[in-house]
Point group: C2
Chain length 230, copies 2
């Protein structure tokens, strides 16, 4: 299993370290703050208190033996850049670095860092997409023109099945999922509804009011399809 | 067109304000810092320098006339909570609030705030997903079992067309897109390749080495499909 080091255990770094450990990776959490390491050590494979800008200490912990290193510090731009430069000098091939502003991004690009992530910018874009589509619950862009969205079944499709609708040939959109409310009995014997997504959209299932369609297509086709109902 | 106010123009708030303005929304940017407002005012519909925890000033700028308010402050948790409480007291219906830790999230939940966004946590999860799938360039979860991924065309499919492959009936996965390298001539007359995604995947197109397939399905089906090639 892959060996990944996460340096800088702020909120973002901590979430990565925990998620990757849950996925079965060998995760080494690195931070200079003892309390931070104390809080995370039971949730990751390995953790160490070290200043990631210190070459001697970084060599001592054998960091060049990992497959990937994630430099996850946010506000401490100086530590992030120095750590990145050090990792490069030590010959680490796969370095992922978080940037919090465009200037830091351009410095990282000139250092030939392939994977730069600006979480405030990326989430700002994703959030604007999700808030700007009426009746649409989730909206993520897959290319600069394609998206996958989640929308309530439009009025004009209620009671019809995908098989008879030919949405791909008529509207150029691909329905990849149907989410429907499923009754479940909880431990108090109460019936509660939860939203479940079919493994594969059932082409014969008559769509119900309040079901959700997960659709893929170009923004243009999705928008004209959605415009049909209003 | 909808009227949206964004309060707290840090990196996240600024990106939202700019993206929503580009999408044609009437965006009012609100921040107590004059320099911040000076930097953003040409990129949004309207902007105002005000302390969002001050009821008198907030009433004076007529904030209760907007459709949605986004409380985008990050580290200033106190200002964020006080602003949210004030907006609720003023009767604003659609309030979206950023939280930077679980305690703040639980406070917002007890205030019945519907939309809470923790960008470090959300991006930590998305990033772990994208880094943990070999050969896979982008990996976003659509439900707790379904994902949309981006992967290099596996060896065993090279030269074949989707039409003859029946990937949905054989593997339970839905190919929603094909990305291929397209030669373009730049202004110096050089030929450069850029990756373009077909509007709709062409069922007759023989897949080439290094094309990318964008696929949707349950994680289980996607993983077994990907395992075929290794
Ligand atoms: N030189 C360094 N070596 C090791 N760890 C460091 C170094 N500099 C900073 N850190 C650690 O990085 C962590 C995150 O720091 P920083 O303040 O930059 O992030 P943040 O902006 O709060 O992150 P987030 O937005 O993810 O919460 C801290 O726990 C800090 O101890
Ligand atoms: N009471 C307030 N009224 C108006 N604006 C405020 C108030 N408090 C903070 N702000 C503004 O919110 C903005 C963001 O502040 P904050 O430091 O909380 O975010 P941040 O953590 O830096 O955000 P990001 O991670 O998005 O860059 C600042 O421009 C600040 O002036």
């Amino acid at each position: 299993m892959e060996n990944i080091a996460v340096i800088g255990l702020g909120q973002f770094g901590t979430q990565i370290a925990i998620s990757l450990t849950q996925k079965g990776f060998e995760v080494t959490a690195i931070d200079q703050n003892k309390d931070v390491i104390m809080n995370i050590k039971d949730m990751v494979s390995d953790s160490v208190i070290v200043d990631s800008t210190d070459e001697k200490d970084m060599r001592a912990i054998n960091i060049h033996s990992v497959d990937k290193v994630i430099v996850a510090m946010g506000s401490n731009v100086q530590a992030s850049l120095l750590t990145t430069a050090l990792l490069q000098r030590m010959g680490i091939k796969k370095i992922y670095v978080r940037a919090i502003n465009p200037l830091q991004e351009s410095i990282l690009k000139s250092m030939s860092i392939d994977y730069i992530i600006n979480i405030e910018k990326e989430m700002g874009i994703q959030f604007s997409n999700s808030i700007s589509t009426k009746n649409i619950n989730k909206y993520i862009e897959i290319s600069d023109r394609h998206s996958i969205i989640d929308t309530v079944v439009p009025e004009f499709l209620i009671g019809k099945a995908l098989k008879e609708l030919h949405l791909r040939s008529h509207y150029g959109i691909n329905v990849v999922g149907i989410k429907t409310r499923v009754p479940e009995v909880d431990d108090t014997g109460e019936i509660r509804y939860s939203i479940k997504m079919m493994d594969i959209p059932d082409p014969n299932y008559p769509l119900r009011k309040n079901d959700l369609l997960v659709m893929f297509g170009t923004d243009e086709k999705l928008n004209s399809f959605l415009a049909k109902d209003s």
